[in-house]
Symmetry: C2
Subunit: 230 residues, 2 copies
């Protein structure tokens, strides 16, 4: 078994930047398994673990997924992402340009990395509601907020485990725009949701450090607008 | 400054279990700052970082938040969580009972830990849609899936940083059931969403190891139902 190289938590946290230029070199199955195992260590509501990991390694399936992904990118105008009039990223101009170039590269090459990992959610068992029952709006909103909170923490664990194995990745969601086609391709049942697709491969770019706004710019204390530490 | 104790990434990943019995002992501000900084290292869509961290440390505000939280727990029947007929957790019977006891403890005592950390999302700048424009359903769904994916990865980084500082926490969402009251209490603007509330404090229970289903039980290869490694 390939042991993960020892890496300090805070070193991993501060150097796990999204890497989108990924080589086709294969990833050993036992490493893929360890990435997924890291994901399963995340918390989920009541520890229900209703996540399912769908590891797409077959080249034809990856090529078909890539086409669906590119259709999504076209639909919301991401193929010319970062050019004038299209959505820009955070940070300064140079940082935005670099992100835009790398996003466009990923869109064109997402079939290349040897693994497209889909994070899915199966519905939790629940009592059948009475006929005609309409849940109040706040209960609907609660479901909309709490369901992703049972799936998405696993993504970050996988991202950090990728960092340890020196694998590049970047959580993406464009496939959701044509989720029905993704389900047809992979035989995913209708009631299952596909939250995130992670292309994973050995990167051509380097890891970290990540660049972020300072804590003081994004943190309040005891009330909105009271700048940290108050 | 309190340096985080060195801890290996995989040790942190596999011992960061949710801890819900938390002491009132204060957390130094510089540690709170380092927890939030760990959160900001997470990826977000286009690195837009539209998260905001609202650190509630004031005892009266915490008590008021706790009342709102308990109203949510009452609304969906969580005060008797784990008793017959109420939703149960994953795992075997003993594990379910322990989780249920700990959830009920948290509901009763959530005002005790010195920090209730709210993770919020401010809306991203977007062009004004033409009057009367109704986005297609798949674009709406894309927004619903991609928005939490720009906020929730930060939660897992904070959870892992808590582990390093030997602080207990557990991501919770019950406050969303009465989000309007949370916003009134803390002056949060209407357009801001409050995704997760993390009670954070020094735990009375011990860390890890977390117990999860094996990878083979939750992973497919190249198609739904093809058990890993295929």
């Amino acid at each position: 078994m390939n042991q993960p190289p020892a890496i300090d938590l805070f070193e991993a946290l501060s150097t796990s930047r999204s890497l989108r230029r990924l080589k086709p070199d294969p990833i050993p199955d036992d490493i893929i398994r360890q990435l997924i195992e890291a994901g399963t260590k995340a918390p989920s509501g009541s520890n229900q673990q209703n996540w399912r990991f769908l590891a797409v390694t077959d080249p034809e399936k990856r090529a078909a997924l890539a086409e669906i992904y590119r259709k999504g990118a076209d639909l919301i105008g991401l193929r010319n992402y970062g050019e004038e009039g299209s959505p820009g990223g955070g940070g300064d101009e140079r940082a935005q340009r670099l992100i835009a170039e790398s996003v466009r590269y990923l869109i064109d090459h997402i079939q290349d990395p040897p693994l497209l990992l889909l994070l899915c959610a199966v519905p939790l068992p629940a009592p059948e509601p009475p006929p005609g029952y309409q849940p109040p709006l706040n209960v609907v909103r609660f479901g909309e907020r709490s369901e992703p909170a049972s799936i998405l923490f696993a993504v970050q664990n996988i991202m950090l485990a990728c960092r340890a194995f020196e694998l590049g990745t970047c959580p993406t969601t464009l496939h959701v725009l044509h989720e029905d086609e993704v389900k047809d391709l992979l035989g995913i049942p209708e009631e299952v949701k596909t939250f995130v697709m992670m292309p994973i491969g050995y990167p051509t770019d380097r890891f970290g450090p990540v660049r972020r706004y300072p804590v003081e710019d994004v943190t309040f204390r005891d009330g909105w607008g009271n700048v940290w530490p108050g």
